[in-house]
Amino acid sequence: MKIGLFIPCYIDAFYPNAGIATLELLEKLGQDVEYPMDQTCCGQPMANSGCNSDAAAAEALFVRNFAKYDAIVMPSGSCTHHVRDNFDAIPQTEDVKHVRKNTYELVEFLHDILKVDAFPWAEFPHKVGLHNSCGTLRALRTASMSELGEPFFSKPMDLLSKVKGITFATPKRPDECCGFGGTFSVTEEAISARMGLDKVRDHHNAGAEYIVSADTSCMMHQQGCAERNGVPIRFIHIAEILNGARA
């Protein structure tokens, strides 16, 4: 299986370590991974703002970059959701269909496709609060949703539970959106920032030293809120922990 690695723009520019960890982790697991150098963005910011036609160029480029791979893996729930569920600014050719069908968020790829049962190199002796982005939770459904009353399951927690030394904090409102919301974070900045502050406080009060998530965009926002308000909590992408980061 030839894997194409997509690194979202904000990870590329602000959180390269999450991208490096994703690549190294997949390599450690024996995967054949390539990062196409001409990649930019999946089109989500434009499409989520209603400007779907403006997403066409990014979507077309995405398909040109990734159509040749058996699987496209990305450390981002919201980008995966866009490609899989909303990627329709361009004609739906066979290549487009192939790309949409074979795009995976990292956690679901590790859990459902590779079915990884051990990360022997991983040890994280810290109490963490798991943040499921709304994209992973309610669109990709990598964990049970409190509103539906379904039996508990959590793919990210399944993976993290295989890491030596890790313990979990239990926030009061685990499923509540943190308020990032893409352009919402700018157009509705006051509410967005308040939601972020409430989110990091919830994790901090539950005793979390770190917030861990499969979505860096949520954490970029949460980190900004925590730092501005002096909430002592750190942030780490799930790929970094699974790849063996100790802190």
Partner: protein, 464 residues
């Protein structure tokens, strides 16, 4: 006159500045969401009920004309006068004429979102009719001259001292009396004489039953029962989408309604109105007011399934932190954001953006309206209809172009100065500055992933 879009962001910012109100509002509504969850866990068939309710509503909406005619025929057999109102103005005129015919000057009424939609009080009062809301929360809002901020709990954004001040002004009670019991008693003492001497009563309604020609009103305070039975004249106003085909269908909705709304198994009163009381008159006004147009909208017609439980508001993290009044519309919260634009596209063009599209609303909706997907679709429609702010539109247009050109994009990412030169400064600053108002920016890094990969993988490959 040019219509200005509602500024939800600004109203929300003001709401957030008042910590006691914000905390109470968020926690009170979150508590309702949790009580709803508890009720859901008690019913193993919860998801089946939601599916059934959705199917009944979709079937009814797909056959609306037939069922409405069936309802009308049966209601007439029951001795009910049936009126059809195409819009709010016609509704108000019909109600005004019925009242005038009876010489009615004092109207008591229970909660009705449709009368808010039609702005009925503003029509009747200049014509010499005194309208008195009998629902406690709705009365508080009437005295304070505000719209209801929530479909089910209209004054939930107010604290007890706010109510004390309003009652002191209107009922001459002690402005420092912060005892809810005593305030409720003051309202009771003020309302009773009005109820006993009213010329006419008005209610809304939760369900119309086609096969029986009857309708159902669900309340907790009993005020709808007083409003409808004390005066001899009862006028009920309902939207045409409130219909269910059969009496047997009602059970599904009655089980879902109050559990979703307040987390109680059933409302205190579930009253079936079957016809006028002895010597009295009963009128039903069936209101369209944009509903049949909405029914024809392929992407949005299922919003008509709404049973007005407010569960989407209670779970919405944005609504809980901005308050219903910030939406500047009769219907607030997630459901408001998808139906308000059908009333006025420009005025409510901002509401589908007052959301993170997190999807919690869709999950709690008892009739399975895909609210967050409709928010997404509305954004597209509004962009196509040129209802997006110019700067946002321009940014997206430029970003879209940039994202299609890897070389230009790479140059922009690698150098901030170059990035600034590819986007006009006024756009970048005006639009992105708000990030830093209540938040820190991400920390700068030494190297992008792209350049790390080039150095650590591509060069290595070449070396091998």
């Amino acid at each position: 006159m040019k219509v200005k879009p509602v500024n939800h962001a600004k109203a929300a910012e003001e709401f957030l500045e008042d910590a006691p109100h914000l905390t109470f509002h968020d926690e009170r509504l979150w508590d309702m969401r949790q009580k709803r969850d508890q009720q859901m866990h008690l019913l193993p068939e919860w998801q089946d009920l939601r599916t059934r309710a959705s199917e009944i509503k979709e079937h009814t909406l797909a056959n609306l004309p037939e069922y409405l005619e069936q309802f009308e025929a049966n209601a007439k057999k029951n001795g009910i006068h049936v009126h059809w109102a195409a819009d709010g103005a016609e509704h108000n005129r019909i109600v005004g004429e019925i009242l005038e015919k009876h010489g009615a000057k004092s109207l008591i009424k229970s909660k009705s979102m449709v009368t808010e939609e039609c702005d009925m009080r503003a029509y009747l009062e200049p014509r010499g009719v005194t309208v008195t809301e009998t629902d406690l929360g709705e009365r508080i809002q009437q005295l304070d001259d505000q719209l209801p901020s929530h479909i089910v709990v209209p004054a939930v954004h107010k604290l007890v001292p706010d109510v004390a001040k309003i009652f002191a002004k209107n009922y001459h009670t002690d402005p420092n009396d912060n005892d809810p019991q005593s305030l409720a008693e003051a309202q009771r003492m003020a309302a009773r004489p009005v109820i006993l001497t009213a010329d006419a009563g008005m209610t809304g309604g939760n369900f119309l039953v086609a096969e029986t020609g009857t309708f159902v009103v669900c309340t907790n305070e009993g005020n709808a029962d007083l409003s409808s039975t004390v005066p001899n004249l009862h006028i009920a106003t309902l939207g045409i989408e409130r219909l269910v085909p059969r009496m047997a269908d009602l059970g599904v909705f009655v089980r879902l309604l109050s559990r979703s709304a307040l987390g109680s198994p059933i409302t205190q009163y579930t009253t079936h109105f079957r016809g006028p009381q002895k010597g009295g008159e009963m009128h039903i006004v069936l209101v369209d007011n944009g509903r049949s147009t909405r029914l024809g909208m392929e992407e949005f017609w299922t919003s008509l399934k709404c049973i007005r439980c407010g569960a989407c508001m209670n779970t919405c993290p944005v609504y809980r932190r901005s308050g219903g009044l910030s939406y500047g519309a009769v219907y607030s919260g997630p459901i408001g954001a998808i139906i308000d634009p059908t009333f006025n596209e420009r005025k409510y063009s901002t509401l589908p953006f007052a959301s993170t599209m997190n999807g919690s609303c869709t999950n709690v909706c008892p009739v399975k309206i895909n609210i967050h997907e409709q928010l997404y679709k509305w954004r597209r429609v509004l962009a196509e209809h040129h209802e997006l702010p110019f700067v946002k539109r321009e940014i997206m247009h430029m970003a879209g172009k940039l994202m299609g050109q890897p070389k230009l994009y790479r140059t922009a990412i690698n150098g901030t100065e170059v990035a600034l030169s590819t986007m006009p400064r006024f756009v970048l600053y005006n639009w992105l500055n708000p990030w830093g108002k209540h938040r820190e920016l991400p920390h700068p890094v030494k190297q992008t992933f792209h350049s790390w990969y080039k150095q650590n993988r591509l060069k290595k490959d070449k070396a091998q």
